[in-house]
Every structure is written in C-alpha cells, then in structure tokens.
Amino acid sequence: MSIQEVRVVNKPDLPDTVGEALLYDIRHTLGITDITGVRTAKVYRFEGIDEVQAGYMADRLLAEKLFQRYSINRPLLEGGVVVEVAYKPGVMNPEAASLIKSAADLGIAGLKAADSSREYAFYGPGAVPANIEVILKKLLVNETVEMVVKERPGTLMIEGRPGRTEVIPIRGMSDRELMDLSRDKLFLNLEEMRAIKDYFTALGRDPTDCEVETLAQTWSEHCGHKTFKASLEVNGKEKPPLLKRLQEATRKASHPLVLSAFVDNSGVMAFYDGWAICGKVETHNSPSAIEPYGGAMTGSGGVFRDVMGTGLGARVIASTDMFCFAPPWTDQSEVPPGCLHPKYLLRKVVAGVRDYGNRMGIPTNNGSVHFHRDFRAKPTVIVGAYGILPESACQKGKPEPGDLAVVMGGRTGRDGIHGATFSSGEMTHRTVDVNASAVQIGNAIEEKRMSDALLEASREGLVRAVTDCGAGGFGSALGEMGSETGVLVWLEKAPLKYQGLSPWEIWLSESQERMVLAVRPDHWLRLAEICRMYNVEAVVLGTFTNDRMLRVTYEGETVCLLDMEFLHHGLPGRKLTASWIPPEDREAVPGPPGDWAETYCRVMAHPDVCSKEPIVRMYDHGVQGTNALPPLGGAAGDAPNDAVVLAPLYGKRCGVVISHGLNPVLNKINPYYGSLWAAAEAAANAVAVGADPADICLIDNFIWPFPDSESLGALDMAVDACVDFVGATGMPFISGKDSLSSTYRGADGTVIKIPPVLCVSAFGRVRDVGRTVTADFKKAGTLIVLVGKRNTREMAGSVYCRLAGAEGTNLPRLDLKALNTVFRSVHNAIAGGKVLACHDISEGGLAAALAEMCFGGEVGAAVDLDAGDVPEEFLFNETAGTFLVEIEDGDLTPGLFDGVPHRIIGRTVAGKTISVSRGGEALFKVDVDKLRDAWKRPMKEVFGP
C-alpha cells in the first residue's frame, strides 16, 4: 500500500510561530530583507493505512480544527516557494513512536510505519533559488541528519541484511598496513596496533572486526584515558601520571563526606538523613561541533545516564551547562572549512540542552558561556548532572557469576558508530564527511521513562549493578561490567530499530537511552513487569560468567572472544614527555579609559560578562520545585546569582549547592594560575551563596588540545594546580574527565589549537537553605564591603585588558593560604546571619559584580577609592576568591572578617546611579539602567528580543 500524506497548517489569520521565528533569522542572521513571509506545514506520512484512516487520524489527532486545517495527499501551502525538510532515513524521529502509539489508541489497524517532517513556504521578491539555498544551508538543514525531500518516498521502512563478520588478517600486516587500518576508524597508534597484532599472533588466529573494534573502543583516549595514565617526563624530570596525582590528592585530603571517588559513573558524597548526592560533568565537543543540536542532546542524555547509573540507581536533580564559542558576530570568512558558524552552534547547542533537560524534567540551573576567537574551529560544550540516592545504595554494584545481563530502554540502531574513537581524534576538514554517523537525535522521553522504571527497580532492590551505554555501546558497558567475572552475550537478542545491522554494529552502536543491568535471575520477572508498566523495553542480553572472558555470539556464532585481562590491561602504557616554556614576563598595564561610563558599559556588554538571561529562561530551571536559590533573582528577576541551591528532599530544608568556574583566557596565559583561578572561582561561587567550604567536593574537566609536548606540559601544570588547591582547601576532586582533542588541522596545513579549558565544578551541602544569600542588594543605605586578597596590578587576561588590547603575563596569582581563610570567614559571616547580599568577583571585576548587585536591588551605589588606588585596576581586576558583601550599617563588628583582608568601599544609595570617587574626589557617575541595557543587549541580539 502506498504512503498517505497528511499536511497540517495553522489557519491563515493565525500566527505561525515557527515561520515567524525563521523569518526573524532570515532577516537578522542572514540579512535577507526581501523575503516577506514564511508559513509552515507539518507533514505526516503513514505506511500501511488507507486514505480514510489517514483522514480519521487527521481529524482526531493531527489537526485541531479550532486553529488548523489539513489536507490528505495534496499540497496545502499556497503560493510561494515550498521546500520540505526531513530527517534522513535511519535517523530516528522521536515523534514516529508517538504517532504509532496514538494510531493504535484510536483503533487504526495496519499502520506499519510513520514519519513527520515540515514544509516551508517562502513569500516575497527574495524567495529565489539562491536565497533559499542559503536559508536551507545556514538555518534549516544540517546535512548530517537532515535532508531536503525532493520526491515522495516509496517506503518508510528501512530494509537491510546484516553483513557478515569479517576476519581482519592482522597477523600478516606491515606497520604501514596497521596504520592504514587504524586511521579514521580505530584511532590507535602503531605501538597499540602492534600489541593487538602480537596478541592474535600468539593465539594463532586473526581477529574478527568485532574484536578489533572492541579493543579500539576500550583503548580509545575517550575510554582509556591513556594520556592521564601515562608516565611523564616533564622538562626532563620524571613525574607520576596525571590521574594518579589527582587521585592521590583526594586520598590525602581524606574528606569525611566522600563516599565514592573516581570509581563509579559519578562521584558521590554524603548528604543528610541517609541520603547521598552525586555529580558528573562531561564534555561533548566533537559531536556538538558537527551536529550541535543532536550533539548537545546526546551530551545531556549521556551525563544524565551517568548519574542514573551511579551506585544502584540515582534520581537526577540538576543539570548544568558550560560552553565556549567564538563570538557570535565572527565573520563567516574566519570560520575554518568543515566547521560551523559560532552563532549557529551556540543557538543549536542551547536548543539541544533545552529540549533534553526540559523534557526529562531536570532543571538546568547553573552554567556559563565564554567566548574566544580560537574556539572558531571547535566549541567546548560541557554538560553536568547531579543526583540523589540512598547512602545505602551508593556504592558501585558488582555482578555475580550467573547474574543476567539485562539491557533496558531504547532500541539499537546504527547510531554513533565510532563515537568513542571519533571524539578522541582531532577535528579535521574531513570530520564532517567521514564521521557523520557519530551523531544522532536523542529521545528524552525514552530516557525519562527508563529513569522512572530504573528508580522503581532500584527501590525494590532488583539491581545488582547498573551502568549506562555511552561511548562504545554494549561493548564498553558489558566489557567493563563483566571485567572481573566474564560475560557471555547473545547479540541477536538486542531489540533493533531496523534490520540489517552487522554483529559488530550492534555490539558497538552508541544508540542513546539504553542502560545495562546485572540482575539476579529470580529478580528478572519482577523487573520485566516494572519495565512493561513504564512502556520500557527490557531483554536479557547475556549472562555473567566466571571465566574472565568476553564472549559475544550472534545466532550461535562467536564473533568476539577476548581475554578480559588483555582487554583491560593489555594496552601498552605510554611514556610521554612534556615541556612548557613560560613566555617571557611582560606586564599588561592597560591605563585609564578615556570615558569611564562608556568603558563601564563596554565591560558589561562584553560577551563573557553580559547577561545570559535568554538562555537561562529557555531552560526549565524550576522544574521539580526544588530551587531554594535560583540562577536569577532580584527585584526584577533578572539579576544573576553565583550558584544554585536546591532542596531536593521535599519538606526538608537541607540543600545542595552547585557552581563552577573556568577561564580559557587565563589558562592560555598561564596554565597553572589559570587553573587555580578556575578552582577558586568554582569554590568561591559556592561560598558566596553560603556553602560551608568544609562541605564541598569538586569535579574536574580538562578540555585540552592534542597533547603534544607543549600542551602536555601545560596540562601537567593544570593538574599541579588542582593538586595544590586540594592540599590548601581540603576540597577533594571526586570525579573527572579529560578530552584531549581540541586541535583542528585543515587541508592547507592550518593548525588551530583550541584554548585549553579546565572547568572545575563544585557541589556541596548546606544544612538549612534559609541560611543562604543571594547577590542582589537588599536596600539602600547599607555598607558594601570588599573581602579577600588581591593584587590589583594583576590585570592580564581581564575583560578590561582585552578591550584595551593590553596583553601580558601578570594574571591573578592566587594566594592559596589566604584564599582558604577568606572562604571560612565569608562563610561564617553568612552563617551568622550578618550578610544581606554577597557576590563573588569574576569576569568584569568588582565593577561588574557591583552593577549586578545594583540590578537586583533596584538601587545605586556610592563607592570611594583610597587616594592610592589605581581606579581602573581597582574596578576591573578579576582576582577570583574575592567578594562584595552587603552588610547592615553597624553590623560590621570587630571579629566579623578578622584576619582576612577587607575594607568598606562604599554604600548602597536610593537613586539608581553608581558614583565612584577617589579620596573623596568625584571620578564618574553612571546610570544603573544604562549599564543594565548594555549588559542585556548582546544575548538579545543572538536569541531574539
């Protein structure tokens, strides 16, 4: 039977918001002004039903006659140039399953397949082929997953026969042939390829494709963290591996709240009343660079599953996002071949995080966006997730021989094949073409119901062990889970999205929304029942054994047989040399501005400082009803807070604090002090809202260029900074991840090293959310106190210097000892109820912090500098770990900030003006609303009014 097409449009007198949003972009992003209108039609296709049935579906489900009309098997958009954009065959459209379900609910029989897409009609003199091609290319179609529909499809079914398992004649390969095999596919080096060859030579047989792929996944940088585990020689001196140093620092800190560090899918710390909280932060740079929407979605979905798969199952309570892009107004000619424009990337990445988090019902409520020209070749996309679980079930589970290996959740398709190896490779001008299959569209609802089912199974004690299927798919999840026991897998039992997958594809597919569980055989029926109730598919895929072998079969044929010992410990250790030669010392002395008020506005409008409100609002940051201190507050609801505080146990006042810090600009100048800054900023953000520095744990994410000697030297210093920070503050790192592929190589030999990023995330607990403070000034006439140690001459890397074009090496060099006492002191003041408002100083300096506090309080401020202060340094220095604190006049009693540097810098005032004087002599005045407008403008330009 042929395909039935239903088209649905809004009635002509009603708005078409999809069309209007596109028209806005056509005008504002592309600058095409002579297209006067865009209308859209939703297109639904059904296979296996007749026209009458399609009409019934249209009436009951697809079109609401109150505001829409529909047509069956004929065009509906009138006039204009009409183009249809659809997902490519094989990219699963999440809507298809809902269409099939609803058809069944409506009693429609015979429906075999369904799909949906959208038609666009362009009107006006500008609706000519050349313009439409630009619109399709820049705004509508990402060729990785989408296409323009040229003709009515003959079928919606994907047919195919599974390929045979190939034997790779590795034993006879020369070095050159080994590397040919590795390139673009395995991403292993010669030594590693030789280790595989030797292993099979000793076994006296050649490997299957499945075996080679499994080894490549497990040994990938993404999964194996080869650089972090390598022994190092830095500037001629032997040093222990990076990972070992981080873990050793955590061990030494011996923090009483740490329950699980570096061993599970996320790090776990104690909460209150028998509960634990956990956190995980991941990068998703490579997929986001080529398909930002799908890439960001799978990034969020993956990190949520990491939290879900912690201990014996956790509930996700928060999501965070930290991005680095080139400025949105970067000229297209500056964007390297094979890369997408930063404005497109930013908008699509935000949309991906939004759609996944919102649909899962996870509040995204902490994050930041940073801009630097050098991210034009590859963005940095970091997503985090936090969860809560019973302390009694917070340790990583271990399967027992005889346990069943169960897979639950979504079906397996050809998605994301080679995701792990791909993300470990560098981005080149070929990346988009060769690795397109590494991205897919996430299905948040699939993951949500899986989470519901998993939590119920976990509550009932049915889970012996659980982990998510991420990079490397079943291969990685089962290979890891069964590493101590052994596992036998029956691949043909995996539910597939469509036929035709070869065994190795099923084994390594990175289809999202799947989790693997170890389940006692007598628990299986109950687990299956729970899954059925939640509409979650679950099957037994294998069984854990006691032979320490990874044995994978397909229809009775063994396609992979590897010794767990070789798989997990056969990877040749790397010995790497590193050196970092500090650039010659040079002091950035930016000098005073010509016009104070104008410069202040420019600092506020700098993309690293400006308001990110439009992004925050697109995220449902309030779902779960747990926000006790949300990302935005203040009288007009637009003032940013430093961290978020959640009260995840309903009716109880104990809270989780979440914050982060990163600064790619400082990291580029000096990896040690830049990294210290990131860690200090993360902790300071948490302390600023009231967290006890003794109750904070940290998560590291190193996003680094490919580790050549210089980059590795920088990485070594960043790790040293982390270790020193732990030593000084006692705050341990309990989870972390590295992504060492931030290098772009163009066809013409261009090499772009993306700025190194250390993102430090902090999370902790507070006993009473009532003892936390926001950043908005609470009233006029109060004291403004600067707390913390800083050397204001250390201006390099600051927004002020960057605007002035002053470069140097004099970045803030934090005094760790002082920092720790400042944290304690600020915390004590907040806990003592003396602090009305507190804001930590970061990008944009004291001036930006002061302005944001005024925005929230609808007040102004009068600030007086000492005669000896250099005003531009005083106002715009960006030393992390310093705070502006609002205190009631008379409350600044001796003892409040004893022993830490602090001084009263001024008062809040009733009028909405910030006035600055030095030694009593007026310097300048600026209107608070003028600053606010400047601060709000940039992101409004990117995301619309």
Binding site: L66, S98, S102, D105, R354, K448, R617, M618, V623, G944
Partner: protein
C-alpha cells in the same frame, strides 16, 4: 480521613513529585498512578477523590502538547473519567495537565471529545521559564475559594501556553465567570504585554475552570511555590505565605466538607 489524590503519570510526566508533595502538604494522601495501571484495571479512578494531571511533556508533546495522552484518555478511560467528573470530584491540570484537559474536552465544557479551546505556541516562539503575576478572578472555581481579587506570584514554564479560542466561546467563558487566573502586570491588572503575559494568551487567560468550578486547568505551576523558600525573592521580604499552597488546600478542604 484524608482525601485521596490520584497523581496521574505517563511517559514524559515530570512535575509529578512536586505535585504529590503539594497535595500532601495540603493534607491529602497521594498516590502515583501510571496511566497503564488505569488501563489494565490495576488502579481505579473511582477509588480517588481528586485527580491531578501534573506538568511535563507527556509522550514528548508530539503532534500537539498533551495530545497523545488526551487521545489515550478519551479512547480508553472515557467512561471512568466522565463518571469521575460527573460525581463532582475535583480535577486539576497544571501546565501539560491543562493542555491535556483542554484536548480531552473536559475543559471548559466538561464533555469528553468536545474540544472548544486550545493552547498553542507562545507568541515568542520559545519555551520560557519565568515568575509571573496572576490575578485571581471571581469564579465558581473551588480551588480558588477565598482568593478572588488576590494577586499571586507563580512560576510559569512552557512553550505552548497561549490560550486561544473563538470569540463566541471566549465570551461565553467570560460571562460564566470561567476565567480563574489572568496574567497581570506589576500593577496587578490583567495585561497583554510581554513578558508579564508570557505567551500572548487571549484575554490574558492563565487558567480556566468548567461551569461547576470543579475542573481547573492552568499553565503556571502553583506546586512550585508551596514553601516560602521556593520563591527567588523570599529573602527580600513580602512572602510570608507561599502563594501556590492555597490552591491545593482548597481542594482538600472541599473534599473534607463534601
């Protein structure tokens, strides 16, 4: 005895925990019920005094927000749902739950299958999460007894919240007093101005009830403000009582008095 609340869940429901807590705090006894449990007969609506449809993205909001669940309810639970309503038991739909109620026809005409109003894409074309000011109108709604004339601060979070209907239907809703909540400006007066009216709703409608006042649907989330500290500005003073809690308390009170 505490009234029993059925908190209905399905694929993509995600405001269930906070809705559960809001009703429990208001004095009810809640139970999470999956729509499959109603379909299989393992749970019966008749065993409950209140039905709550929480927010979220039921079935991904595919096709239209709340549509797939609305079709499921009208296909499989038509009789038990109609009976529940006809027996005078309160029904509350929040956000996605409101979308479902409108798409089943329970709102505003309490007649399954009779769809006369809709909730469509926000005028801004975007999903938005922000605190809004709601004016409580004079209405027969049992959830807002004693609140009419008051101005509440509640968080809204949706992409498809624009209330729309034909002129006749709108006039009929107005004359019957079925508009329960309207978006208001800082002065407390109903407004069409963005962002105070976050979606461009006709007549600034944020929530409506049926003629009996027993079925209520609204886009903003009262369940997110049942403890004072849930408001972003409780530290600035002026929030002695959480504004969302009375909605749940009224429902519980109604059941206890029935």
């Amino acid at each position: 005895m505490k009234p029993k609340v059925c908190v209905l869940r399905t694929d993509g429901t995600n405001c269930d925990l906070e809705t559960f807590y809001a009703f429990e705090k208001a004095g009810a006894e809640c139970r999470m019920v999956h729509v499959n449990q109603l379909r299989s007969g393992g749970e019966k609506l008749a065993d409950y005094q209140i039905l709550a449809l929480p927010g979220g993205f039921s079935y991904g909001d595919d096709v239209h927000s709340g549509k797939i669940l609305a079709v499921e309810l009208t296909s499989f639970l038509r009789d038990s749902l109609q009976e529940f309503v006809d027996r005078g038991r309160p029904v509350l739909g929040i956000c996605n739950g409101f979308q479902v109620l409108v798409r089943t026809g329970l709102l505003p005409g309490r007649k399954l299958g009779d769809i006369s109003c809709t909730l469509t894409n926000n005028d801004s074309g975007r999903f938005e999460c922000r605190w809004v000011t709601l004016k409580v109108e004079e209405s027969p709604c049992i959830f807002t007894r004693g609140l009419s004339g008051r101005v509440l601060n509640i968080q809204a979070a949706h992409g498809e919240g624009k209330f729309y209907t034909g002129k006749e239907q709108m006039d009929s809703l107005e004359s019957a007093g079925q508009v329960v909540f309207r978006y208001a400006g800082p002065d407390g007066r109903p407004t069409m101005e963005y962002p105070f009216n976050p979606n461009g709703s006709l007549n600034a409608v944020a929530g409506i009830c049926d003629r009996t006042g027993l079925v209520l649907g609204l886009m903003p989330h009262p369940e997110r403000f049942v403890d004072v500290y849930q408001h972003p500005n409780w530290r600035r003073g002026g929030f002695e009582e959480p504004h969302g809690l009375p909605v749940f308390e009224n429902a519980v009170k109604y059941c206890l008095e029935m």
